[in-house]
Structures are given as C-alpha cells and as structure tokens.
C-alpha cells in the first residue's frame, strides 16, 4: 500500500545548524507511527515541516500524493492532516463546546458573506456541527462541562479537549506532539484507548514522543532520528535491538539509569 505521508530528503537549517539534514521516511495508512530520538535529533522540526509551521529548505513532504511543504498550516489541516500541541492549548475564553465546534469544516457561516447572505444555510449547518461537537465531548467525557469556559478545565481535561477539537476537523492523519508529556497514569490509559480506537476507525497517527514505554506499547512502526537524520526504522522490537539506536539513544539512557 502506498504511504499516506512521505518525507523525502527533508532539510531544514537554522543559521548554521542543520536541524533536519535529509530525513526520509514514510507513514503507512492506518498505522501508528512513532517518531523518537534524543533531544535535538530534529523530531520537532520534521513535525513542523509537516504541519506547515516551518518550510523545509529542500526536500518534499507528500500527503496522499500531494505536496504539503509549500502550503500554510490551515490548508494542511483542511487536507485532513491535523495536529495537536505539546501542551494542551484550550481557547480559554470560549466555551468547551465552542472550542470543539470551531473545528467544523464547511460551515458557510464562517465567512463574512456567508452569515450575512445565507443565514439559513449557516444555521442549518450549525445545528449539525453542534450535535457532532456534543458527540465528541461525550466521547472524551467532557459533556457535563460543555458550557464552561475552556480556561476552567484541568490539565488532563485540556488534553482531552484538544483531542476532541482535532477530531472535529475529521482528520485522516493525526500528528500528535508528545501526547504523553505531563499526563497522569489514568489519563494515559484513556488517551491510549482513544488512539487505538480511532486507529481501528481508520485514522493514521504520527506521534512524536519521549515516553518510550508508551511508544513500544502502541506503535506499529518506530522511526528513530539522531542529528537530523533517520538512523533506523522498523517494528518496536527491531528498533529496540538495533545497535545504532542503542548507541545513539537507548544505550546512553540505560547507562544513565545504571550508574
């Protein structure tokens, strides 16, 4: 099966530092692909090249056969490639429900001319959007808080809100930036369940993550980066045994733990 997302010789430098130095890898449709590597390996830069936050200096990012690397973030999201942020970012002075409804696509009322000249169409769509938002809030068990300001949510609830909001965009591929950072054990389990359920529904995941236990537990494919390049990829088992990876990353970590 052809890859849903492809990185080909992606290069991105900051001044003299080549943060990403010719990274090439693929994400298979329906997979959970994890991107790991030590600090400074270039994971976040690769991630940002896929979301449109950064433009690669050279190389290509291709999603479903279409190049993404010259598109702005909002176009990429509309293609079906939706990201979350490392720390949850609720829109604090909007209600929880409004946060989720914002993700809706094809709302004519979002255009200045749309709500002025086609208020009926906007209202009709809005009713559907609201229903879908409430379903998603129920899914992440925030339905009781739908009317509250998003800024009143706890850290864990914010993570779940981010997830529901991203799902509203109907993603084909979700890019998760360290979803397990600062997450409590019960929430961790909850997020993990959501990810596997969504994958079963056909959503592909590319996850940047530091938490190796989580990666080994959930990922089908692990891509390891070091110093701006991909040094290994394969199943969690293969990667775990790969000596380059052990040298670059896991080895150091194990030594540190041992000493």
């Amino acid at each position: 099966m052809p890859a849903i997302l492809e990185f080909a010789e992606v290069v991105r430098a900051f001044g003299g530092l080549r943060a990403v130095d010719g990274a090439t890898f693929e994400v298979a449709p329906g997979s959970i692909t994890a991107l790991i590597g030590p600090n400074g390996a270039g994971k976040t830069t690769v991630f940002n090249c896929a979301t449109g936050t950064l433009r690669p200096d050279s190389g290509r990012v291709v999603f479903e056969g279409k190049r993404l690397d010259r598109k702005p973030p909002h176009r990429i999201a509309r293609e079906g490639l939706v990201r979350t942020f490392q720390t949850a970012r609720p829109l604090t002075r909007l209600s929880v429900r409004e946060n989720v409804m914002l993700g809706a696509k094809d709302q004519p009322g979002e255009r200045l001319t749309g709500w002025l000249w086609r208020p009926q169409a906007a209202r009709g769509r809005e009713a559907l959007v609201r229903r879908r938002a409430d379903e998603l809030l129920e899914l992440v068990r925030l339905d009781a808080l739908a009317g509250a300001y998003a800024g009143t949510l706890s850290g864990g609830q914010r993570k779940l809100l981010d997830l529901a909001r991203a799902l509203m965009v109907e993603p084909k591929l979700m890019l998760l930036d360290e979803p397990m950072a600062g997450v409590s054990p019960p929430l961790r389990l909850e997020l993990l369940n959501h990810i596997t359920t969504l994958r079963a529904d056909g959503v592909t995941f590319l996850i940047v993550e530091h938490d190796l236990d989580f990666v080994m537990q959930v990922a089908d494919v692990v891509v390891v980066m070091n110093e701006g390049r991909v040094i290994a990829q394969g199943s969690p088992e293969e990667v775990r045994r790969n000596e380059h990876v052990v040298d670059a990353y896991l080895g150091k970590r194990h030594e540190a733990v041992a000493s």
Binding site: T92, R93, L94, E98
Partner: protein, 321 residues
C-alpha cells in the same frame, strides 16, 4: 455652571459620545474580539472625513454618493494597511499602525492641493474661497428635524448619530455570535490553534481590520458634519487612545460596553471644562485644558489596575489562563 443645565451642552456631549461609540466599536471588533492591536484607528476616521469633504467641496459630488464611497475608502485603507503588515507579530503590527496614522496626518498637513493643508477643510478650494462640504447635510438634518418634530438641529443630529450607532452595535452583536465571530474570538485566544483547525487567520484579520476601518470612516463622516470644519490636527494619535480608553473603560470583548464607555468618556471629556475649583483653579485656563488629558490617562490606569474587566466586562475572563 449654567452650561451644565443647558440642553445644547448635553446634546453636544451625547453627539460626541455617539460618534465615539461608532469609532470605538471598530476598535472593539478588532482588538476586543480578534486581538488585533490597532493603535492607528484614527487614520481611518481621517480617510472617511477627508474623502467625503474633498469629493463634495472640490469635486462637487452629491453627499449621498460621496459618503458611502468615503466609508469604502476607509475600508480599502484597512485592506492596504493589513496586506503587508498583518503577518507581523502583534507588537510590531501595533507600531506600524501608529506610524500609518501619523504618516497620513503629515500628508494631510502638507499636501495643500489635496486636503487644504494645515489650515484645514476651509482651504480645500484654495486660499480666498471658503470651502464648504456640508450644505447638503445641513438641509438633510433640517428635514429630519421637521419630520420628527424636534425642537433643535442638535436633537436631529443626536437621533441620526445614535440611529446609526445602534444599527452598527446590533450588527456587531449578531456577527460575534455567528460562526464567523466564533472564529475571530478563537484567533484572539490563540491563532496557531485556529490555523491548526483549518482557519485562514490572515484572511480573518484582514476582514476585521477593514470592517473596523469602515466603522471609523462612518465616525469620520459624522465628525465632519458635526463640526462643519476640520483640519489634520483633529486626527492626532490621541484620538485613537480615546477609543482605547472607551473600550477599556466599558469592558473588552463586549458590544454594549462601547456606548457605556463612550458616554462616560463624553462626560469626562466635556466635564473637565468645569474644573474651575481648587486645586485646579491654580492653573490658567489653557493649562487646565491639558488636565483633561491627565484625568483621562489616570482613568485608564485606574481602570486597568482596579477593574481590569471594565464596567461591563466579566472578571472571570480576565483570570482564565
């Protein structure tokens, strides 16, 4: 203190408040709802006023054609300012807007052939001819007065300004509750998140800058008609900060807070003329005129410190993180 009891005085205060309501509503839309730090709002007021005055006094256009065109010109000014600058970070954008308004004021001061220069609109048709742009407006105002059976021109002006203000306030109130308004508020909160959900942040900012500029243009028209004469000095950056005071005093992110802030501003602005008691009487009357600016500055500071949500704002929205 007899002026305080005169109807004419209070009509004037409320006409000024109405004009500033329309003017500050544009800023509320831009900053209060979309987070755009616009410190050059007065530029669009100037574009509205000058375009109308030039087209009517110099080119002999009908007011009914010149007025809507002037509002369009102000909106176009917003688009032209926004296109190259809206991608800047908020603080840099703020600097550019204030520079834009000052550049326009300097051009208006120095391009005598276009604007009448420093002497103002009286000079629009060259020296020696007293140019006038509001004859048609005066007639219209008289019609409105007799039609409504009002006892003064001022009362007719009051009805016209506040009629327009209430229409614009209502439209804004509705707009904010549409999906369009929701997207604006999302951009105010976090534009990266809005973009990650597929919203074209730049396009929304451009729209809101142009709509807010059009509001300022309408305010400029009423300003021109109310005073029958104006010059570039009427469009100092201070005027923009009056709008900021109104928005902060009334409450950010609320529609009906704008007229509340504007009326309070009108009262303070006109009321400070009556500071003729100790300690203010130690100052000469010319110096006392500047006291009003100090009072207004003090009010902004006290509002931000003691009641950051303004009169009608929600305290809770100020403490959410």
């Amino acid at each position: 203190m007899s002026t305080l009891a005169s109807g004419g005085f209070w009509a004037f205060v409320f006409v000024v408040a109405g004009i500033y309501t329309i003017f500050a509503l544009g800023l509320q839309l831009q900053f209060g709802f979309a987070g755009l730090l616009n410190f050059g709002q007065v530029a669009f007021m100037a574009i509205g006023a000058y375009t109308m005055a030039i087209l009517v006094a110099k080119e002999g256009w009908s007011m009914w054609l010149a007025a809507p065109l002037s509002v369009g010109a102000a909106a176009l000014g917003g688009l032209l300012l926004g296109l190259p600058t809206l991608r800047l970070r908020a603080d840099y954008f703020a600097i550019v807007t204030i520079a834009f308004s000052e550049i326009l004021r300097y051009v208006a001061t120095n391009d005598d052939a276009l604007t009448g220069g420093a002497q103002g609109t009286i000079n629009l048709r060259g020296t020696g001819v007293a140019a006038q742009y509001d004859a048609q407006w005066q007639r219209f105002q008289a019609h409105v007065q007799s039609f409504l059976g009002l006892h003064s021109r001022d009362a007719a002006m009051l009805v016209l300004v506040w009629g327009v203000a209430v229409v614009l306030l209502s439209l804004t109130w509705i707009a904010i509750r549409t999906p369009w308004g929701r997207t604006l508020r999302a951009i105010r909160e976090d534009e990266d998140v809005a973009a990650s959900l597929g919203k074209n942040v730049f396009a929304y900012k451009l729209q809101v800058l142009a709509v807010g500029a059009a509001f300022a243009g309408i305010a400029g028209l009423f300003y021109a008609w109310e005073f029958s004469f104006f010059s570039p000095d009427d469009f100092e950056p201070l005027v923009t900060f009056f709008a900021w005071m109104i928005v902060l005093l009334g409450g950010l992110g609320r529609v009906w807070s704008v007229p509340v802030g504007a009326i309070l501003f009108g009262v303070i602005f006109a009321g400070t003329r009556f500071f003729n008691f100790v300690p203010f009487s130690y100052f000469g009357s010319a110096d006392r005129a500047y006291l009003r600016l100090m009072v207004i500055g003090l009010i902004i500071i006290l509002t931000v410190v003691l009641r950051p949500q303004g009169i009608l704002g929600k305290r809770q929205e100020m403490v959410l993180e």
